[in-house]
Symmetry: C2
Subunit: 229 residues, 2 copies
């Protein structure tokens, strides 16, 4: 990003874009936290609230997409500014999908709250917190062109994957122990998988930030790590 | 899209973009088919091949992204052309993620091929075929600005979801029947889930096509249907 733009309106547009992306990120983080709290606190009203709030995320997506198109049409950015806008267009899709995943978690939490809990949910909120931190850090890296922070996200993904695997194996053990656990354990497995996928979206964002800043595409050596389980 | 562009080079760019997206789509479809064939025919060499070919999809993504940025920088498109390019930037990400999902399926197929099969895989290849058709149709709708075809994709998603649910419930039953089935059934459940997610990506593409052509965003009433299970 050049240090100064002669065009004040353009500067304002870019600031606006960054602010809106951060606002959307904050909203999405709240949905992740809410969806998992709905599970751990057996709070179906909260689950319902998460499901309802997703429309705010969707509205933000449409608005930011429109803003990006408006900037492209009016300001005809080049070089690093162009890369910023085209990256924003992609990031907004990742954020919206994260919102969808939080809704899926809330829906499963809602179902699980109808039956006795399988076990104390110790690692699931930990996984949610990690995923949420990764999303926050990736977005911060984007708005501040901070490659070092993006690289932290890339490194942080292993921790998330390891915790997912731990939860997955514990749930398998519950299933093997008693067939009455199978249905609930399966639901919890999908919740954990959704959280791990939220982490993957953060990883995608971080990879795009590195590309945006360095102009070098690192997406694909890393996407090899995105396999499940 | 206006019927004629005075700028021949621009026309050529757009043709190039459409062709490359179709080529990437064909590649991705082949990966879906290959990954499921690796499972049903217990062909781990094929699984390995799918895992290796993903890098071609990744290369195509980088190339198409670059092409989109080049068109934006050089041609400064407006209105419907701008919408076409910004949509292409998003679609290419969906295609790349589909490639990742096919790789995940191939990896699981590889593992499952080391142990005796749980049951004949009747519905899984059917689900894969449906998912593949949805991807193909959504991309065709994109390159030909065909809203009717995009709407077919939107309608087709219910079939996919229903088949996923059927497979999911059958696998649950296998798990309940004998705990020795649990590990394999879980792997098959994730494979089915990946195929259903491939269908969701096709749905996303179709929604974007409707928006691109009509200029009206229909993404979000429909994204409500994207919940799992």
């Amino acid at each position: 990003m050049p240090a100064t733009h002669t065009d004040k309106a353009f500067e304002q547009d870019l600031r606006d874009l960054r602010e809106r992306l951060l606002a959307m990120g904050a909203k999405v983080e709240a949905l992740i936290a809410g969806s998992v709290r709905a599970l751990t606190e057996r709070d179906s009203t909260l689950a319902e609230k998460v499901i309802q709030s997703d429309k705010d995320v969707n509205r933000l997506e449409v608005e930011i997409d429109d803003l990006c198109r408006r900037i492209l049409a009016l300001r005809q950015p080049a070089a690093s500014d162009l890369r910023l806008i085209t990256t924003a267009l992609k990031i907004v899709t990742d954020l919206e999908r994260i919102g969808d995943l939080a809704v899926n978690i809330a829906e499963r939490a809602h179902d699980l709250n109808q039956v006795p809990p399988l076990a104390p949910y110790v690692d699931t909120p930990k996984l949610a917190e990690l995923a949420q931190q990764q999303v926050k850090k990736a977005l911060d890296a984007f708005v501040s062109d901070d490659v070092a922070k993006a690289e932290e996200v890339l490194k942080g993904d292993d921790l998330l994957d390891a915790l997912f695997l731990k939860i997955f194996n514990e749930l398998l053990a519950y299933m093997m122990e008693d067939s009455k656990n199978i249905r609930r354990a399966t639901a919890l497995m999908f919740i954990a998988k959704h959280l791990e996928r939220i982490g993957d979206h953060a990883l995608n964002v971080a990879e795009m930030v590195v590309y945006m800043v360095r102009g070098k595409d690192i997406r694909h050596p890393l996407s090899r790590n995105l396999t499940m389980e």
